[in-house]
Amino acid sequence: MSVLQTTRQIWAAPIVLGIVSAIGLVSALLGDGIWDALSWMAFTAPIAAILWAIARAISHSPSL
């Protein structure tokens, strides 16, 4: 944790998740069926990132 993160390292994940979320917002407007499914998949990305981070914090953190 002592290593400074570069701007790229800080922003890579948020930007990718932001773009994926934007795809999720727009695709369901464009059509039904496959477009809806694309939207559902896109929106699971930010939620999956949160679950991943919480799971990692629980398993890696030393007990208090």
Binding site: L4, I10, A13, A28, L29, S39, A49, S61
Partner: protein
């Protein structure tokens, strides 16, 4: 992106104060908005409306005028204002008012589109959905309540944008997704606040901005009524009132022939502000998820059932109509509604954790926070990220 200590302090204070101003209102909006994601489903679950039967033995579509007459018979003193088609079910809503120009509805009746059978009276001015919706839209304070919530929405957008700016410096020593659980409860919540906030930021900004646009619906519709609608009605301004009014079925046949690729969404009746005394105004929608949200107004003469005029919607109403699905989350089926629910819950956690973080350290300055994030520990300007990055 270069952020000096001074500009970090300014952005941090912006984030703190904009958040403090809007958080309680945003919490109210998130809590009332949560059940409203399922507004259409709730309407049926609560029994406010009943679904038309799946199969009926009607040979031809029902006479629409017959159900208009039925509605008039139920409230002879009232005027029919609108006829609206349900988006999902073969169902008409007939909205009545004390007068054709009354803003408030006096009653709404639902009918089976195939048989013309009366289904149910939809509750007006009471019921759980009405309370949730009125809180969410205007806090029972009318147009000023709506505009106030719009202003709070703008403050919220400023809070989110400043939150994005201060996220970078906070993450200088932390890999993405790190949650420092072992150090202190406050630090764990700070990391969680930053993580939940940054990964949902696109959604929150879109729902926030479209919410602000939606608060302008009444002024925008009034402006349109005063300008373009008035312009469309001007040629008939000085003509005598129509001696007979054609049944609405003829109007529907006319517009469906004139615009075969569009479908009727709702019809405003003669005498209402959007139709004028001599016409019906029919609002047509497209057939795709996108164009289904947009409306094409067609002015149909009430005596002759001829199309008098048809216009494109002005850009500001197109923006309003497109901002509705993006705010409501009702355009991608039940899974999208459930995702809206989860993202709404995450936003509630971000709001409450933000309040908690402020309460815990309300006496500490931005500088203390920098120290706590260990990120200002090194002497030379740690606030300027290295030049190699974007």
């Amino acid at each position: 992106m270069v952020l000096t200590a001074e500009s970090f302090r300014r952005w941090y204070l912006t984030h703190k104060w904009t958040s403090l101003i809007c958080t309680l209102f945003l919490l109210m909006l998130c809590l009332t908005g949560l059940p409203l994601i399922f507004r259409h489903e709730l309407t049926f679950w609560l029994g406010d409306a009943i679904e038309p039967p799946e199969h009926v033995s009607a040979s031809a579509p029902a006479n629409v005028d017959a159900l208009i007459q039925d509605a008039k018979g139920r409230r002879p003193q009232d005027a029919v204002k609108f006829l609206t088609k349900d988006d999902d079910y073969p169902m008409w809503f007939v909205s009545l008012g004390d007068t054709p120009t009354a803003r408030e509805n006096s009653a709404i009746f639902t009918y089976d589109q195939r048989t013309g059978e009366f289904l149910k009276e939809y509750p007006v001015g009471h019921g759980l959905i009405y309370i949730l919706l009125t809180l969410h839209v205007e806090m029972f304070a009318g147009l000023w309540g709506t505009l106030f919530l719009g202003a709070m929405g703008l403050v919220f957008v400023a809070s989110v944008v400043s939150g994005i700016v201060v996220y970078g410096p906070f993450m200088r020593k932390l890999p993405f997704g790190a949650i420092r659980r072992a150090r202190s409860t406050r630090l764990a919540w700070l990391d969680l606040h930053n993580l939940l906030g940054i990964v949902t930021v696109t959604w929150v900004l879109v729902v926030g901005v479209t919410g602000v646009i939606n608060t302008l619906d009444r002024p925008l519709l009034s402006y349109w009524q005063m300008t373009e609608i008035t312009d469309m009605l001007t040629p008939w301004k000085d003509q005598p009132a129509p001696t007979k009014v054609v049944p609405v079925d003829e109007v529907i046949r006319t517009v469906e022939t004139a615009a075969p690729d569009l479908a009727v969404r709702f019809i405003t009746f003669p005498g209402t502000p959007f139709a004028g005394p001599h016409h019906y105004m029919v609002f047509m929608r497209g057939q795709t998820p996108l164009t289904g949200r947009l409306l094409t107004p067609m002015l149909v003469h009430a005596e002759t059932a001829q199309v008098s005029d048809s216009r494109h919607l002005p850009w500001y109403l197109t923006a309003l109509l497109l901002s509705q699905p993006l705010h409501f989350g009702d355009y991608g089926g039940l899974p999208l509604q459930l995702l809206w629910l989860v993202l709404d819950l995450i936003t509630i956690v971000v709001l409450i954790s933000g309040l908690y973080l402020w309460w815990q350290k309300r006496k500490s300055s931005a500088e203390d926070l920098l120290m706590q994030t260990e990120w200002a520990a090194k002497s030379d300007y740690p606030l300027e990220p290295s030049a190699e990055a974007r």
